[in-house]
């Protein structure tokens, strides 16, 4: 009953007319603009230390207050958007590319190639994500570059598994078999017919993955193994403010809110995209 199926198809409705896609895109766009125009928007230099205004609560001069070095929190939050957006983007792109290539090779060819990839994936997945990343960073030394290397080495498995599963389903789908029966070459079937359909779910996944990457990046900086001071980054700012929570709550609170909103933007975009493209996690 095609008619009833169309009607009973489940649609996730969000309150009002604002769809998650629009809301998520708006949040991300806002942060992107903030990051781009940081020099214009930030009232102060993010690393300038002014001993005269240490630990000031939010005021007209310093809307989000100042930290223990007298640096303006608002300016630091704005400048940090550049670093954290970069973390979310690069932390996703490298694993995405590696995982997609590995997953499609594994899924398309099957056999021993697939077996080897699956074993490697099993082993990498056996390690808790952050633990393996930390172990890698131990070797490469702290810093943003190390973070990206660790991210690429660890994060690709999720994409590889996802793409592989999609390939296995699509490879046996009627339309792929139709393509083979019409005499199309292997590469045409793989790149023109299977890949565009398979990659949709990874694109959606990459949006929710961006949330995890962002949180991981911030956590690693918080632990002191990522971005190094005095650079403004939300995770570091939270770490720096932790010692002052009893006296200066604003130092930790505002960078946290920044992370939550940016992450929410990615989550909403993932929900919206998944719904629009008919992909379910």
């Amino acid at each position: 009953m095609s008619g009833t199926r169309a009607i009973s198809a489940r649609r996730i409705r969000w309150p009002g007319t604002v769809t998650p896609l629009v809301l998520g895109a708006a949040i991300l766009l806002t942060w992107l603009l903030i990051a781009l125009f940081a020099p214009l928007l930030a009232p102060y230099d993010p690393i300038y230390q002014d001993a005269a205004v240490r630990l000031q609560p939010p005021s007209w001069a310093h809307p989000l207050g100042t930290d223990n070095f007298g640096r303006d929190i608002l300016s630091r939050v704005i400048w940090a958007a550049r670093i954290d957006l970069q973390i979310a983007v690069f932390g996703v792109v490298f694993p995405f590319v590696i995982g997609t290539v590995a997953g499609s090779i594994s899924g398309f060819f099957g056999g021993w190639v697939d077996t080897i990839f699956m074993r490697v994936i099993d082993v990498v997945l056996a390690f808790p994500f952050l633990v393996l990343m930390l172990a890698i960073i131990t070797i490469t030394g702290p810093g943003l570059g190390s973070f990206y290397i660790a991210m690429a080495l660890v994060g690709w498995v999720s994409y590889a598994r996802l793409i592989r599963a999609q390939f296995l389903v699509l490879k046996n789908s009627d339309f792929a078999m139709a393509a083979v029966s019409l005499g199309y070459s292997n590469s045409r079937v793989m790149f023109r017919h299977i890949m565009p359909n398979a990659i949709l779910s990874s694109v959606v996944f990459s949006m929710s993955d961006a949330v995890l990457v962002l949180l991981n990046g911030a956590a690693i900086s918080y632990l002191g193994l990522g971005v190094q001071p005095p650079v403004a980054e939300w995770g570091i700012m939270i770490a720096e403010g932790q010692g002052f929570i009893t006296s200066a709550w604003w130092i930790t609170t505002f960078p946290g809110i920044a992370i939550v909103t940016l992450a929410m933007g990615f989550s909403l975009l993932a929900d919206g995209l998944g719904e629009a493209l008919g992909v379910r996690e």
Binding site: M1, S2, G3, T4, I7, S8
Partner: protein, 332 residues
């Protein structure tokens, strides 16, 4: 078959409401069911045959679907559509049982068949665990499941296709309902297994006086099983009457076309008769008679006015301005 109707559906309508618009999915469907009668509801995908039965069980699959009018009278004079939730649970399963096309998805995969049946029995009749279990075994035996003692502990996925359908019939009949609604129960089965299930339904009718509403797209199955038949097209009832009368002397052009479409008709060889075009979609119904764009006998009247369902003969009603075989009188 006795004359007193056990179920009377009167002018049942269902609408889909969403995105600011509302369109009618089921438009004024009426029929009656008598004790021991097997009524076939035939129609193609999207004709609303399934939806009609969901509506009268108040099991519409989406909150956007709403019954907009009509009534469903039980034998005791209650209207199913105005029952409270509590009363409804006493009607479903106890008075009206229901089986579906795909037993694999309509049975709980993580509960054994026996427990599902016993659960229904214990819910409707307040009896003990042991008694319910014994009764459950009895029902499994009645629907032809061999070795019920051990099969009762099996799960859905451990049954074959035909056995699953038998198990679902057992679940539906657990509380001895008067009416069984069968929503395309044999469509997914192989023909030899279909024949077994049709035979079983006939037996249940003969032995228990069960009344059955049998929904199908296959006129052949209707011919083999039913006493009366209702033909639906695009959400409306277009013909209704005694089965032999409707199939051998169809009055509605759609029914006539459908009978001629059967691959087994005309000796079963040569080109197949077809109905040109395709059924309309729910959001885009043609005005007047909904079949007129595909009908060879359509004229301006058909495009302008919806034909009412009228009795052409004793116990045979048809919604057509120009019924097959009845000439001028239709104009009146």
């Amino acid at each position: 078959m006795t004359d007193a109707p056990i179920l009377t559906v009167n002018n049942l309508s269902v609408a889909y409401e969403g995105g600011g618009t509302s369109h009618t999915i089921i438009d004024g469907v009426s029929f009656t069911l008598r004790r021991g009668e097997i009524l076939g509801i035939v129609g193609e995908s999207g004709s609303g045959k399934s939806m009609t039965c969901r509506a009268l069980m108040r099991l519409l699959p989406s909150s956007r679907l709403r019954v907009t009018g009509g009534s469903v009278w039980l034998e005791d004079g209650r209207d199913v559509l105005s029952l409270s939730q509590g009363e409804l649970t006493q009607v479903r399963g106890r008075r009206i049982g229901m089986i579906f096309q795909n037993p694999a998805s309509h049975l709980d995969p993580v509960m054994s068949i026996g427990r599902q049946i016993a659960e229904s029995i214990r819910h409707h009749r307040k009896i003990g665990r042991k008694e319910a279990w014994a009764r459950m075994l009895d029902i499994l035996r009645q629907v032809g499941i061999p070795d019920p003692e051990s099969r009762a502990n099996a799960y859905t996925h451990e049954f074959s296709g035909g056995m699953r359908q038998r198990a679902m019939i057992a679940v539906a009949l657990a509380c001895d309902p008067d009416i069984l609604i069968a929503d395309e129960p044999t469509t997914a089965l192989d023909v030899t297994v279909q024949a077994q299930i049709l035979r079983l339904l006939q037996q249940l009718r003969d032995e228990r006086g069960l009344s059955i509403i049998f929904i199908t797209h296959d006129l052949g199955v209707v011919y083999q099983l039913c006493d009366t038949v209702a033909v639906m097209y695009a959400g409306r009832l277009c013909e209704y009457g005694a089965m032999h009368e409707v199939i051998h002397r169809p009055r509605h052009h759609y029914t006539a076309g459908l009978v001629a479409c059967q691959p087994g008709s005309e000796g079963g060889t040569g080109r197949v008769h077809t109905i040109p075009g395709q059924p309309p979609s729910p959001g885009d119904m043609p005005p007047g008679c909904r079949f007129h764009p595909r009908c060879g006998a359509a004229d301006a009247l058909c495009a302008a006015r919806q034909p009412p369902l009228r009795e052409t003969h004793e116990g045979h009603a048809c919604a057509c301005h120009h019924p097959v075989g009845i000439e001028a009188e239709a104009e009146a």
